[in-house]
Structures are given as C-alpha cells and as structure tokens.
C-alpha cells in the first residue's frame, strides 16, 4: 500500500459521503456490539483483581454420576473435592467454596437480601481481595467454627453505614457473625470471587465428608500454566478411581479440572466428561460472532458492488497501465479495511460510552467493565477481519472487470 493509494482511499470516502455514512453506521453498530461482548468476556476470563492469578487457576464446577439406569449431573460435593483435589501433587494451593447463596441480614427492622459464599481459609490466599479494613478469617477461626465474616464495603454501607466495621456484628440468617474484614466490592463477572459476604465453611459433618454431589466448587492454584497438564492428568486418575461406599455396580464418575473458560463451558454444554468443552464453546462464540457479522458484511458487500460501476473507468485505467488483478484486489480490500477501521475507531468511542452506561445501571451487579489495551487490540482485529471479510468479494469482482468494458464504464 503506497501513499498515493492511501490518499485515494480517504478521498474516495470523503467524496462519496452518503456511501461512507451508511457504511460507517452499519460497521460502527456491528463493532460496538462485538467490542462490548469482547470487553465483557475479557472482564470474565482475563486475570484481574481479585482474580489476579486467574491464569494459574483451575476449577472443578461439575460432577456427573452415571450407571446403567441413572445419570446425575451437579456441582461437586465436599467429599468428592476432598478425594480429588486435596493435596494434588504440583499444586500451590487449593480451596473449596460454595456457589452463591442468598442470605438474609436483619438490621433493625430492615431485611436485606445478600449474596453469600462459604469458603475455606486458603481461598483468601488464592484470591487477592483488597481489604479496606481488617483481614480475612483464619484457619484457626475455621477450625474453631467461629462465626466470623468478611463483607464488601457496599454491604457495610447498606447494613452498618459508613465508618469502621471490623469487630461489629451482623445478624446473618438469625446468627450473629463478627466482621473480620471489609473488602472492596467485587464485580459479578469475577465468578470465583463475587459475593457480598463470605463466611467459613464451618463444621464438616460426616455426611458432608461423603458427599459426591453438593454445592461446592473446587479451586486449584498451580505454580504455572505449564503444570496444568500434569494436574489434570492426576485429577482424571483420581476421578477414574473415585468410588463411594454406596455406589451401584458399574457406577462411573466424570468431572474436569478446568480453566475459567472451560469451567464456564462445561456446565453450559452439560458435559462433565473429560472432553475439551472449552474448545467447543470457543468455536460456538467465534461462529456466533461470524453469523452476527455476516448480515452487515453482506450489506457492505452490496454497497461496494454498487459503486464498482462508478469506479469502472479507474479500474480500466489501472489495468491498462499494468495493475495486475492481485494488486487491484489488495488496493480495494485496503480501502475497505480503512473504512472499517474508521468504523472501529467510532465503535471504540461508543463502546466506552456503552460500557460506562452498563456499569452505571444495576443490570449487572457491581459491573466494572472497561476497555483496556487488550480489548482495543481485539476490537481492531475484529475491524480488520470485518474489512477483509466484506471487502474481498467486491474487490475480486472489480479486479475481474474486463479493461475494455471497464474503460467504457461497463458492466460486471
């Protein structure tokens, strides 16, 4: 791409204002939707406080039990996690935590519904919450079954009002809990971290110790991602050998030690087997994005085809003076990519506005979506892909024009 062609691309866009405006509206809308989706996915799957170690974290979120006459899929139970991820060789730490539970706080005459997680003390060492005051509860608190809690600043303000909260108590479901620490609010997209109040798992009953299915998630922190294959292998071996006293004959257990993305994919695809659920979901996401891009891309293709005739003499001249088809295709695709990059730049601005609006509403609790360099990079890649995707066919048709017909302003 030389400067002359670059200048031409901008002049063509400036000269054909209606075409440029219509195209830009379509491109910008498409890219805003895709960039907002990218920003949300980035906020879920990229490391960020308190999931700063997300790249080294593995999860057990689903377990399946199968025999000839029954099948059952659920979240893992405490007993299952004890037998499968406790002291996995090569793991730096492990923890269990419950799925979100709705708990009620009574504050005077007020009844406040809140989202709670029961967590092991090691949970606080894997996730790096920002403690505004106090500290997490300890292994000693857990062992002694002390009613202690960590709450978010948002919940503190709601229940106790602003000001120091550590040492004060809250009435959680009829039981008084002493506040050990207050953390900054957590966005719901940080799935392993999100809650408003965290309390210890507490006394582990014999029934809990035996439970294969239950309400827990397992969390393993590896020393590095390179350890993932070995950790997964060992986990799979443990699952294959997993039995309980009341197993029916031929009972088989399936589960997976997953990255954050795989952990989302596995329950969505109802797939507790050890296949690559992450790859399947990634393929689904990419396919959806492509389908979503197809309609505006076809619209742009049609607009581009309609302006071929307008530029036919130029194509004829370029061919007459020695432009090979490949060079012409490159020129017209580049023009289209410039148009989509302009749409990308506008889309980027509107994405920032849309995310700010999303953060401002309570549609997604504690949403903290933002556009970082990575989201910007993905956005530009999407714009370039969209430009090539929608520009290639018209460019190919343009380049195939017979030069004599083209010079006459001819037909395709």
């Amino acid at each position: 791409m030389n400067i002359a062609n670059l200048k031409l691309a901008f002049r063509v866009l400036a000269r054909r204002k209606v075409f440029t405006a219509i195209s830009l509206v379509g491109i910008t809308l498409t890219l805003v939707v895709l960039m907002v989706a990218t920003a949300i996915l980035d906020n879920i799957f990229a490391a960020g406080k308190p999931e700063s170690n997300l790249d080294r974290m593995l999860f057990v979120t689903v377990v399946g039990r199968y025999s000839k006459d029954m099948s059952q899929t659920s979240q893992p139970g405490y007993g299952f996690l004890q037998k499968t991820i406790r002291d996995l060789p090569g793991a730096e730490r492990y923890a269990y935590f419950t799925q979100l539970q709705t708990a009620v706080i009574y504050s005077g005459a007020q009844r406040i519904e809140t989202q709670m997680k029961r967590v092991m003390p090691s949970y606080w060492q894997i996730l790096d919450f920002h403690f505004i005051e106090g500290a997490p509860f300890t292994a000693a608190d857990d062992a002694a079954d002390r009613p202690v809690a960590v709450i978010t600043d948002a919940l503190r303000d709601k229940v106790l009002g602003p000001g120091p909260a550590v040492g004060r108590t809250i009435n959680l479901g009829g039981q008084k809990y002493r506040i050990a620490g207050v953390v900054s609010r957590v966005p719901i997209t940080r799935m392993s971290a999100y809650a408003e109040v965290w309390v210890p798992i507490g006394a582990v009953t014999a029934e809990l110790q035996r439970a294969t299915i239950g309400e827990y998630n397992g969390l393993v922190l590896a020393h590095s991602r390179d350890d993932f294959p070995a950790l997964k292998r060992e986990f799979n071996t443990r699952v294959a050998n997993y039995t309980t006293a009341d197993d029916r004959p031929g009972m088989e257990t399936r589960s997976g030690l997953d990255t954050a993305f795989e952990a989302l994919a596995r329950p969505m695809l109802n797939n507790p087997a050890n296949t690559d659920a992450g790859l399947v979901l990634r393929t689904i996401f990419v396919t959806l994005a492509l389908i979503f891009m197809t309609l505006p891309a076809l619209n742009l293709v049609t607009l581009n085809l309609s302006r071929i005739l307008e530029r036919a003499p130029e194509i004829g001249v370029r061919k007459a003076f020695g432009a090979p088809k490949r060079t012409l295709i490159a020129q017209f695709v580049t023009e289209n990519v410039i148009l989509t990059l302009l749409g990308g730049a506008l889309g980027f601005i509107f994405t920032i506005i849309a995310l700010a609006a999303l953060n401002h509403t309570s549609f997604i609790p504690e949403a903290q979506f933002n556009v970082n360099a990575r989201v910007f990079g993905y956005g530009m890649l999407i714009a370039i892909f969209f430009g090539v995707f929608s520009g290639f066919y018209p460019a190919w048709k343009m380049a195939r024009l017979n030069p004599v017909n083209a010079l006459r302003g001819g037909a395709l």
Partner: protein, 221 residues
C-alpha cells in the same frame, strides 16, 4: 515492433455474433507513427485494444516486441502493458479523486520504484507537456486540453516504447487538438517512440507516417 497475423475478433452474445475484425495483417516498425482511420464502428478501437493487450484476438497471432501474447496470463500481460505501452484515451480517463501528480504516477505504482523517484519522474513528464504549474490541481480544475496533456504525461512517464492513442483529439477544439498532435509528433521524432493513433480527422492522419484504413472490420489500405 508490432505484428498481427490473420487476426479476427468476434464478439459473441447469447443471440448475436459480431465480427469486429477480420483477417487483419499488420506490421508496425519501431519508431513509426501510424494512424488508423475509418468510419464509426469499423473496428478501429477494437484493433487498438488488441495491440494494447486490453483484449485478446479470437483468431490469429499477435506479437509485441517479438513476444507472442496469445497464451499470456494476466500477470505477464499486465507487466507488458506496464513496461512497453502507454495509453491516451479520447475522454482522458483521469482519476477524479487524484491530483494531477498522483494521476501521472499511476503507471509507476506497478513498478518497484521509490516514492521520491516516482515523484521526480512524474514531475519531469508533466514538465514535458507544459503542466508543471498544475501538479496539485485535480482533473476537474483543468481544461480539456490540459487534461489530455496530463493523460499524455501519464502515458509517457514510464518511458514506454509504444504509445497508443484512441482519438486523442476527439474531445478537443482544433487549436487544442493541434497542441496534442504536436506533443505526440515530438514524442515520435525526438524519442523514437512508436505511436499508433486512432483518428477521425484526416488532417491529423496526414501528419503521421502511415495510415491504415478499416472498413467493416477489414483492412482496406
């Protein structure tokens, strides 16, 4: 330089077959100035398009500078057009979105020439046609005669051995036509460039070295 042996050109549509050129035999030597004349629709422009490698003959052999072009692919035809040929069209065909300088640089874009060198060559070509003062103008800001001079600068900027001009004076008044004819003659005489020109104007045809006359697709003189 240019050899055509038993050339036929047939245009086919679903219903009609039109014989545009029939049994054309022609030799144009290096450095000749040849005009092609004939009534409208006799095949003059078709013949020029074949010589310019913009179209392919239906039958017969075409040699350009000793090279058979019949079986040549898109890339080699494009290369030959770029290196050996320059075109001047009746309606100028300047790209309206480009300045005069950028228009003249077009043939050089398809060669490996640095931007600075391209500009130098384009300015020299524009100087030669007397348009140095209009390099940053757009085509619509120029008169017809000036636009055709830009078109000639574009045709000669790559120093081709052959310039093909399709009624270059057709859209101009006689004074401007004389001016353009003068430039083409100078190209032929001073640089030894082979010029093949389609014209309706007998006055300009008489100023060329040889005139080929066509009638109903046949060569009659």
């Amino acid at each position: 330089m240019i050899t055509l042996n038993n050339i036929d050109k047939v245009y086919r549509t679903e219903r009609v077959e039109t014989l545009a050129l029939q049994n054309i035999n022609l030799d144009i030597a290096d450095g000749e100035f040849v005009s092609i004349m004939g009534p409208s629709g006799c095949g003059k422009s078709t013949l020029l398009n074949l010589i310019g490698l913009l179209d392919k003959p239906t039958k017969g052999k075409l040699l350009l500078d000793g090279t058979h072009i019949n079986g040549a692919g898109d890339r080699s035809l494009a290369k030959m057009r770029n290196e050996k040929l320059g075109f001047v069209f009746q309606s100028f065909h300047l790209v309206p979105d480009l300045t005069v300088l950028d228009n003249v640089e077009i043939p050089l874009l398809y060669r490996k020439i640095a931007a600075g060198e391209r500009k130098k060559l384009a300015l020299a070509a524009l100087d030669r046609v007397g348009l140095s003062s209009r390099v940053h103008h757009f085509p619509t800001q120029l008169s017809g005669g000036q636009q055709q001079r830009v078109a000639i600068a574009r045709a000669i900027v790559g120093k081709p051995r052959i310039v093909l001009a399709d009624e270059p004076t057709g859209n101009l008044d006689s004074a401007m036509g004389d001016e353009i004819m003068g430039i083409l003659q100078e190209l032929n005489e001073k640089d030894g460039t082979t010029v093949v020109m389609v014209t309706h104007d007998d006055r300009f045809a008489q100023q060329t070295g040889r005139t080929i006359r066509l009638f109903d697709g046949r060569q009659v003189a």
